[in-house]
Symmetry: none
Subunit: 198 residues, 2 copies
DNA sequence: AGCACTACTGAACATTTGACCAGTATGCCG
DNA sequence: CGGCATACTGGTCAAATGTTCAGTAGTGCT
């Protein structure tokens, strides 16, 4: 759909952003291609926008938005044992997981965070020791895998509502279901995970 | 290390970029926080840069570069059945997986690609149907999980060298080890995977 | 008390930058 | 042939924007 020239322009914008961290201005694009006029750039950008290859923010400096530019979410990685919901203390993050948020089907302004799994109680669900699970802060539903704080201890289990009562089911025959005796606080719902092979 | 106010500023910049695709200008930050002077923003940005929380491009509109903005690798996702090594035909990618390359311990200029897993033959290794496995193009070693083309068919199995002969071991008792009768081409070594919960 | 750092107000300035108008030339489609 | 899209030259203009100077106030440190 795009002409050869339009592809070149688009590619330059992408490359420039990757290498300099900043979208190029029209004049920078002009200089790179040796155009005698900025208008040449302006026309190309208009054409690219019309074809949906990018979005322009009118009147805004370097206001090009590339479709693939922002699909990167910095997910804070908390320790193995979360002391509470992440919104409270962003500082405690052990690191960040940069990943495409469109990959996980997140809702509009949904908070996400990540935990490093300890133990093998969810092995049956393919979640192993050391995996980074991505958790979303949303209301839990029946049979969701949830991060829960039960009687002061944090665990990752499958939530089952049994006759109105919540039960945390492990996915490993060596472990037993957990029924909260005192308090049960759901801190997040599993939406996916990342494993790095050691 | 950052003060509370500086965190707020930094967070706003990150949020603004995620939601609008564009870095906010100093005046936009000013308006958001209700400052009476742009200089308040300028000072905060200077402080943030001094502390290494971001980089400023002097004289450039919206010239803030967030440290975690670009260390993102676009990994091409190929189909479930790879017809060959990805270097040949980059075009065939079904999509892209944007992820922090530092997460996986990749070697300097190592090629990576991604495959969607079909089947449950590696269930014992925690790799399930539908998972996106990340593969690196590097020489396979004993007990690596590899993507292999054996007798014309593509599979993901653990490579075991048995008395000098390569054997592809599944991690599921319902499947049997594969010994190549004709050809065995290793197309990549498993370095990790990503699962999106459905 | 003196100094450094944070956290601003208020104003002015020079650039940077997007937008726009007027033209030219080429190629394609009906 | 006219109309439309591409691909530019050349130039102007106003708005957007980073930068800087001068000054005030609070806090913590030595």
């Amino acid at each position: 759909m795009l002409t050869k020239r339009q592809q070149e322009i688009l590619r330059y914008v992408q490359t420039h952003q990757r290498e300099h961290g900043v979208i190029p201005s029209q004049r920078e694009i002009q200089a790179h291609f040796g155009f005698a006029s900025v208008n040449a750039v302006d026309c190309h950008l208009a054409a690219l926008e019309k074809k949906g290859a990018l979005v322009r923010r009118p009147g805004i400096a370097r206001g090009l938005v590339l479709p693939h530019a922002h699909p990167v979410l910095d997910i804070p990685i908390f320790g193995t044992i979360p002391a509470g919901p992440p919104s409270a203390n962003e500082q405690m993050a052990d690191g960040h997981l940069a990943i495409d948020p469109t990959l996980f089907k997140l809702r509009p302004r949904e908070e996400v965070y990540s935990l490093r799994v300890r133990g093998d109680s969810m092995e049956g669900a393919g979640i192993q020791d050391g995996d980074l699970v991505v958790m979303a802060c949303r209301p839990p539903q029946h049979r969701d895998i949830v991060g829960a704080l039960v009687d002061g201890e944090a665990t990752l289990k499958r939530l089952v509502i049994n006759r109105g009562k919540p039960v945390l089911m492990p996915e490993n025959p060596n472990y037993r279901p957990i029924v909260a005796t005192e308090e049960l606080r759901i801190q997040g719902v599993y939406v996916g995970h990342v494993r790095v092979h050691r």
